[in-house]
Structures are given as structure tokens and as C-alpha cells.
Symmetry: C2
Subunit: 534 residues, 2 copies
């Protein structure tokens, strides 16, 4: 009678709903859902044949591929844990996560062999190795087999085991700016409930907005990053057409969007900017493309650039510890008349079953007036229970019984949240809290500015003073100062927000998941290490 | 960190999503969601003030009203059980259910006082009584108060308690054709998961189909019947405009559909037929109305009549014990070209997280060929765990670890289920199983036939022989026989299905929830008790 919430049931729903629907990997591979269902079973049987099962940890190092999607289901459906390895981490960090996770097996793409093979002698547990290959390759010594060969030899009638819904399904590592990577885990129950919560948020949107079963889905967030924000599970359950892009190359992404009529993607702002600014981008019709932006705030300038191309762009908000989705910009209000940029870039309202509060350091709610700021804390059925084997940072994450996001924001009377900064990136100058994001948003609208980062640097008199880095096509310093003064005059920024310096740079430092690395920028500024151009 | 699935969170989501949205009761009352939220809190505080709380059982006897919707939330949010009393049961049955449920309080509409007051001396527990009044009324002796007065005096800031998700939320009684009514209960977890499963089934439907947040919802299944099929909870969470019709009167229903632009309803076939056949119906534009049919099979003739009016009609399938939804007709396929009647009247595919099997008496699956029939059994996270205080019938319901629906059906290769009959209504003639529903469907398409019922009557030679009752505008007997012979010639019916007799009757007996009462028909036929007309 007791029926657990497990992701195998989500797969079953998709296979029943759309057996003939297609799943595509780049220009290399294409299959129906019915074939996909058989491959998942055969992969499960192959892994079981290698001795993997309930309690095992199986790591994947791959681009966004059909193999990764198959692993999303087959590994957790075995009762094992899927460890999605962040291949952009340093070799030492990857070694740390493989050992910390206790991986029993690693599925590794041939491109990442030069990264992984030298680490093998330092992996502390015996580990089975499976090669993922896009082109013919010899099986390296010690490998258990090649993926396609193992799948081909597997049993399409393989019966996955039953287990409780609180069984751990996924594990990945999030890198803060200090300390070792932190292991974040989710159970089957959490992944299922996150999927249903996101569907209940996005699917009831009237018209063509949100997500519908006839959308064509292509992830543009790496699948190793918070399991592709949960969308591969959702797309599969809804029987959507799916396109997996492999390695992210702008021309290939544009080709896949055009070729398959992709209608729904999600990404960080920098990936959207990369596609819009890519050569040849203008020739591709993006007017049927819906893009959900997360990971960092969506700058208004980028939002306007996307909207000018006809893209239905909205912000989502969450983090690695929240599965990830907490809020989504109001997709009904954004269908209204007039300029909807501020609706689309707002952090949005809490998704179904999510509780959001904005609190002061004593955990008292700040007024819901759209102005007063505090830390954003959350509750929902899909927030991680804590960091793997790290009780101290788990306790800190959940102090007071609420998950602390480390983000600063305000809440309007109607429940709309707006994140104004990371708690650690707020620029504290002259007793004021200056939002680095607000400053960046204003500068991003200056013509010629391609990218921008604002940070605080230590100042004896004021505590901190803002500095702005820009990547720009021409000399924009005077225009940036003018735009900031206009914003100050309009009351949108405090007078403390006028940047001390505007530096035009070749590139802005990024973290392994493509976010602006403000810690690195501040360190660079302290050492005068940023190469300034123009 | 552990976050329970409770319906209070669904309310919170709706209040945040759509504070200004309206909820209407007939022509008498109208409020915003924000007011509704306050009233739910005040009702909760008023009930708590009467000593009701965790573990209490609170019964409601009302038409479909805003008060009922408030009770849907406030009573379970107290940790109490909402007992939705079927006011169409006999007085003795109602007394049985009130005593069996152990009601601690009854909220009763003034129209049902003549039913309830004489029973009070025989209610075995002390019971608090609250009057629900649409027009001024004196408070009967012994009543604790009138609903609006209690709500007005309540506390809009009332804090509902926390409790585990497996806490019992609802209780109602289902009447079989034999034995006492059976108490069916659902937990908060089950109601929340049913809501999310139904949303994941209906909201991703492309275009205007399914349900979207801009739909205008009016229930046409009594709220006491499987909590209005769960849709009041869903509509509230999605922030939909809601219209509660009060007592079902065809002209009033047509007026409300037109006045408020109702776009989504659910009902049994007889209610849809009543509306389509009501005088004045033709003058109302029903072309924006989506109707989900359940409770009984949707006859093809009725489906065609609805489609001719522009109604987007589909079948849903489930029962009191399944919360209720198990399957929904394919709303994507029904958008295709050509005659979609058979898609719309098919039982459909399993909703997300639902597992359906069609099995023989040894619990072996019958072939998925769209022909072989067996009993339909199910699993899902929202099926009732059993009948209240009735272990024997609970064990029978769940024999073999699957919920036995008592329905006979077949399954196509693509997973589409088609119910062909109730196990107990199948007509067993000459070694063949004749589907009474298929026979009814064919007869319903004969011009002039308003309603039809087919049953088996005992026959010494053949076991059973079919008899058809029709309500018709003129003499249709010859046309019915001709239609059946055509269907036999086409291979759609076996030759055993030709009815022994076609009886034109004034009315077809119905159960308390409006379904055709085949047990009563068979009993009437045995006694020659059906008044035959024409």
C-alpha cells in the first residue's frame, strides 16, 4: 500500500506517454523513448553485472549526452548514488571529490582521460572504469568496458530493485570561495518532489510560456551542475523532445537550436550572452526559444538583448543546496503589455511548496516593502539535508531550522523576491550596503559594454569602495560614470555607489561553473594583477 | 530540515500567486484570495475555540460553496479530519456515517436541518453544531453558532499547528451495492501528491487544453464526492478564478458559466447531459468550456453532443478509493485531426506516478493488445490505505499488493486503458463476457435516445441475457435493435449481445451520486417493476 516517490516512476510515465518521441545527442546519435527505456534497463543490468547496486556510488564525467541522461535514471534506479563530477574543477579538486564521495565506479568520456588517468593511483578505493567514446578508441588498461558495448550486452528486461524514497539518488560537489568542495546529496523523494513542484510552477502558464509537453528541450547548464537543474528528469517524464548538445560550442548550439526547433533551455547569463554574441547568431531565428536564467542574476542589458531577438527570457532562483529551484520570475505578469524587463529579471515568487523569508541577523522578518534587505532563508520538500560528512557546515547551513542561502534580497508586499547581492559580495561603503548586482545591471546597459563585474575594495575611510571591471568593445569609461550618475540622480543607487575606478579588462575571472569569480577579482585588484585594455 | 507535504502549503502558494484573484459563491458571495486566506485562518481559530483540533473529526453538510472550500483547508490544517457527508444518502445511512466517523462537530446548511435534526438524539458522541445559512435563520437550540458570525469573530492571524504529512486529512463514505457504507480516508501527503500528479498530467497539455492558471473553475461534482475530485485544492494552489455553484440547478449552472466565463469543470455524464438538454442551453456559448467526465463511462453519443457545442470533453478514470484520478484521456492526441471521439471517451493513459495493470484472476497480466480483458488493478502514491475500521474489506481491496478497482478493461500496446465494464455489471451470456458499457454506448448513438442502461438478467439456458432500458423522445425500439445488429455485423459486439428486450422507461434508477444503479434495475426487472412508457 505504501508507494514510494522514486524516479523510476517518472521514467515509466514518460515511456508510456510518448514511446515514439525522440532524444538526440548532438549530430551523432538519435533514439526513440522506447529505445531509451530499453537502454536504461540494459545499462542498469550492465552496472549490476559489474557488482554495482544498492549503496554503490557511480561517478560520471561526460559532456551533456544521451549517456548522461541514461545514467540519470539507471544509476539511481539501482539504488546506487549518481555522482555527477564537475569536470571543470582542478585535477586535485576532482581527486578530492572522487575520494570523498567513495566512488565505486567512474564512467568517463575519452576527452577527460588525460585528466583522470594520472589521478587513478591516488584514488583510495577500488574503482571500476567505463569508457564513454564518441569516436573509436582503445580501451585503456584496467577498464571494465566501453559504454556502448556494455549497453549492447545488457538485458532490456532487467528488473530494478525496490527501495525507500529516502534512498540517496545523487551527489555532487559545490565549491565555495573557501575550504574544500562540499558534497550535496538528494534523495529520490526530493528529486521527484522538485520535479513536480517545478512542473506545477511552469506548466500552468497560459499560452506558449513556461513548459508544455510539446516543447523541445536542450539543456545549456552542464548536467553535472545540480543535475541539470532537474530538467532532464522533468523533460523525460513529460515525454518532451530532447536534444543533448555535447560540449558547448556556440556555432554547434545555434545549429542544434535551428535544426531541432529547440523551444526551451536553461543557462547562466554568460552562456546566453555567448550565444547572442556568437558570429552567425543573427541568422538564427530565436523567436520560439524560452530560456530560464539562473546561477547568477540576469542583467537588464542582457535581458533586453535577448528580448530584442524574440526570446522569452525569465530568471529562476536557487542554488546547489536547493535542488535547485526556489523561485521563478512571474511568467504570467510578463505576458502583459509595456516593458516587462523588470518582471523578467526579478527573482520572482516562491514555487509551489517553497517557503521564503527575508530575515535580519536575529531571524526576524524584514518589512515586505520591496526595499528593506536581509538574508534570504528557505524551506521546501527538496532542500538538501546537509553536506556529506560535514556536520559543522551543515549546522551552519540550517541554523534556526531554515536553509541560509547567503543571498541578500528584499520582498515586495505581493511576495515577489528580489535578490540584490550575495551576502559576501555586498559592498559596504560609508555605512550603506551597495548592491554589486544593481551596479552591474546599470553598467551592463551602457552601449559597448559586453560584460561587467563590480566589487568592493578595502578603503580606510569608507570601509569599502566600489570598483567596476568591464569588457567592452570601445572606451566606455566616461559613459559608465555618466550612467551611474544618472542612476544616482534617479534615486536608484545611493551616492556611495559611484565607482572609485572603472577598469576595462580583457576578460573577467570566472568560477568552474561560469559565474563571475569576485573573490579572484578582489585578489587581483589587491595585487594590481588585472590586465587592463583600451 | 524535514519538510512535510501538507495542504496548508498549497494554500500558501495560491495566496502568494494570486492575492487579488476572485472566488464566487453562486450569486450571493464574492471574495478575493487575500480575503479567503483571512477567512480560512478565522475559521480555523473559531473551530479551535470550540475545542476542535488535532485528531478531531469535523463533518460538513453543504452544497458546493465558498464555505465548503474554506472547510477543505481550515479543518485539515487544524490537524483534524474533514468528513464530507454525502447529503444524498438516506437519513439512516447518514446517521451510520456520522457515528462510524466519530464526528465531533457538524457544519450543516439550513436546507439539511430537516434531515439532521431528527437524527441528533441517536448520534452517539457529543457533537458541536454550526449552522450554514444562505438566508437569515434562527440558530436552532443546541447549536454553537452560525458560520459567518463565527468567522467574523475569528482571528485572521491564527497560527495552524504543524504535524506529520501522514496525518489523516479527509474522510468520506462510499456506498457499494451491498453492505454498510465504507469509510475512505486520505492523508495530507496523499492529497498533496494527487494534486501535483493531476497538475503534471493536465497542465503541460499544449494550447488551451488541460488546465492553466487562467482557467475559470466551477466544480460540477459535489464537493462531498471524493473531495470534488481534488480540483478545489488544485484550483486554489494555481490561483485560478473559482466559482462555486451551490445547489445544482441547470438554469443557474448555465447562467454561472456564461456570467463568469467558466472554462473548466468536471462532472458525471448525467450532469453534462442535464446541462446540454436543459431548456435555454442552446443560447449559452459553451465553446470555451473544458469538461472532464468521470464516475461513469462517457457514452459516445453524449461526447458527440458536447463536441457539437464546442466543448472540449475528455474522460478521466478513477474511484473513491483512488483519490480519485488514475488515468485521463489523451488530451494531446485529441487535438489531432479527424474524429477524436474514441480518444476522448477512452479511459486514457496512467497519470504520472500511477501504475496500472490489467490482470486475470491469478494476477497475471493479460496481453496488451486492446482486446484481452481482465480486472484493472493500480498502485499510486495517493490510493487509500483502506477502509476505516474494516480490515476484511481492506484486505480484499488490496489483495496481492495492488488496489483492485472492480473494473474490467483492456490495454492497448501504447498503454491506453479502456474500461469495458464493472466486474459485477459484465453480462455473462453463452460463455461470452458482454460489456454492458459497450452496448450502452452503441444504443446511446441512436437518434431520440436520451439515456440508456444495459443489464444482464438471469437466463436458464445462457446464464444471463442482456436487457436494455432507454429513456427516449419517441419509439426507438426498432432503431435500437437495428443499431445493435449493425454493431454485431461490424464485429464490435458479439452476437450474444443482441438484447433480449428493449424497454422504454420514464427514468433510469440512479445512485446517490448520480450513477446508473444497475443493482436497482436488475431488482426492478426481476419484479417487473419498471414503469414502461411509449
Amino acid at each position: 500500500m505504501d508507494y514510494p516517490l522514486v524516479i523510476g516512476q517518472m521514467l515509466k510515465t514518460g515511456l508510456t506517454a510518448a514511446p515514439g518521441q525522440r532524444i538526440t545527442y548532438g549530430t551523432q546519435f538519435d533514439m526513440s523513448y522506447a529505445e531509451f527505456g530499453g537502454r536504461v534497463a540494459r545499462l542498469g543490468s550492465a552496472l549490476a553485472g559489474l557488482g554495482l547496486g544498492p549503496g554503490s556510488v557511480v561517478a560520471v564525467m561526460d559532456y551533456d549526452s544521451h549517456r548522461y541522461l541514461e545514467s540519470f535514471f539507471a544509476i539511481p534506479m539501482l539504488g546506487a548514488t549518481l555522482h555527477t563530477v564537475n569536470v571543470r574543477l582542478s585535477a586535485e579538486q576532482i581527486l578530492y571529490t572522487v575520494n570523498h564521495a567513495g566512488d565505486d565506479a567512474i564512467l568517463v568520456h575519452q576527452d577527460f582521460l588525460p585528466l583522470l588517468l594520472p589521478l587513478l593511483p591516488r584514488i583510495t578505493r577500488p574503482v571500476r572504469l567505463i569508457l564513454l567514446a564518441d569516436k573509436a578508441a582503445d580501451l585503456p588498461e584496467g577498464f571494465a568496458g566501453e559504454y556502448e558495448a556494455l549497453v549492447a550486452a545488457g538485458d532490456a528486461g532487467f528488473a530494478f530493485p525496490d527501495f525507500p524514497e529516502i534512498t540517496r539518488a545523487t551527489l555532487f560537489y559545490t565549491t565555495g570561495t573557501t575550504g574544500d568542495p562540499k558534497g550535496v546529496t538528494y534523495s529520490h523523494r526530493q528529486l521527484v518532489l522538485h520535479s513536480f513542484g517545478v512542473i506545477a510552477c511552469l506548466s500552468p502558464v497560459p499560452g506558449r510560456g513556461g513548459i508544455k509537453s510539446d516543447d523541445v528541450y536542450m539543456p545549456l547548464t552542464p548536467l553535472f551542475h545540480v543535475h541539470g537543474w532537474g530538467f532532464p528528469l522533468i523533460a523525460t517524464m513529460l515525454g518532451m523532445r530532447q536534444v543533448y548538445p555535447g560540449r558547448y560550442e556556440p556555432q554547434k548550439l545555434l545549429f542544434l537550436i535551428a535544426e531541432h526547433g529547440v523551444t526551451f533551455s536553461h543557462c547562466v547569463p554568460t552562456v546566453l550572452g555567448m550565444i547572442l554574441n556568437a558570429s552567425g547568431s543573427e541568422a538564427v531565428n530565436l523567436a520560439n526559444w524560452k530560456v530560464l536564467i539562473g546561477g547568477s542574476a540576469l542583467p537588464e542589458g542582457l535581458a533586453r538583448m535577448a528580448m530584442a531577438r524574440g526570446i522569452d527570457v525569465h530568471t529562476g532562483y536557487g542554488m546547489s543546496e536547493t535542488c535547485p529551484i526556489l523561485t521563478i520570475a512571474d511568467m504570467v505578469a510578463s505576458q502583459g503589455p509595456g516593458d516587462t524587463t523588470s518582471i523578467r529579471t526579478a527573482t520572482g515568487k516562491a514555487a509551489p511548496l517553497v517557503e521564503i523569508r527575508v530575515v535580519d541577523p536575529e531571524m526576524q522578518d524584514v518589512p515586505h516593502d520591496g526595499v528593506a534587505t536581509g538574508e534570504v532563508v528557505a524551506r521546501a520538500p527538496w532542500l538538501t539535508h546537509g553536506y556529506l560528512n560535514d556536520p559543522a557546515r551543515t549546522t551552519d547551513l540550517w541554523r534556526g531550522g531554515w536553509l541560509h542561502t547567503g543571498d541578500v534580497g528584499n520582498m515586495a508586499a505581493d511576495g515577489t523576491l528580489r535578490i540584490t547581492d550575495r551576502l559576501k559580495d555586498v559592498i559596504k561603503s560609508g555605512g550603506e550596503w551597495i548592491s554589486s548586482l544593481e551596479l552591474e545591471s546599470i553598467v551592463s546597459s551602457v552601449p559597448g559594454v559586453v560584460e561587467v563585474a563590480a566589487v568592493g575594495i578595502p578603503d580606510v575611510q569608507w570601509g569599502e569602495r566600489p570598483v567596476v571591471l568591464v569588457v567592452a568593445r570601445d572606451d566606455v569609461e566616461a559613459a559608465v560614470h555618466a550612467a551611474v550618475q544618472t542612476a544616482i540622480a534617479a534615486g536608484r543607487l545611493s551616492r556611495w555607489a559611484a565607482p572609485e575606478r572603472v577598469l576595462r579588462v580583457e576578460a573577467i575571472p570566472k568560477t568552474s561553473v561560469g559565474k563571475i569569480d569576485k573573490k579572484a577579482i578582489r585578489a587581483g585588484l589587491a595585487q594590481n594583477a588585472h590586465p587592463v585594455t583600451g
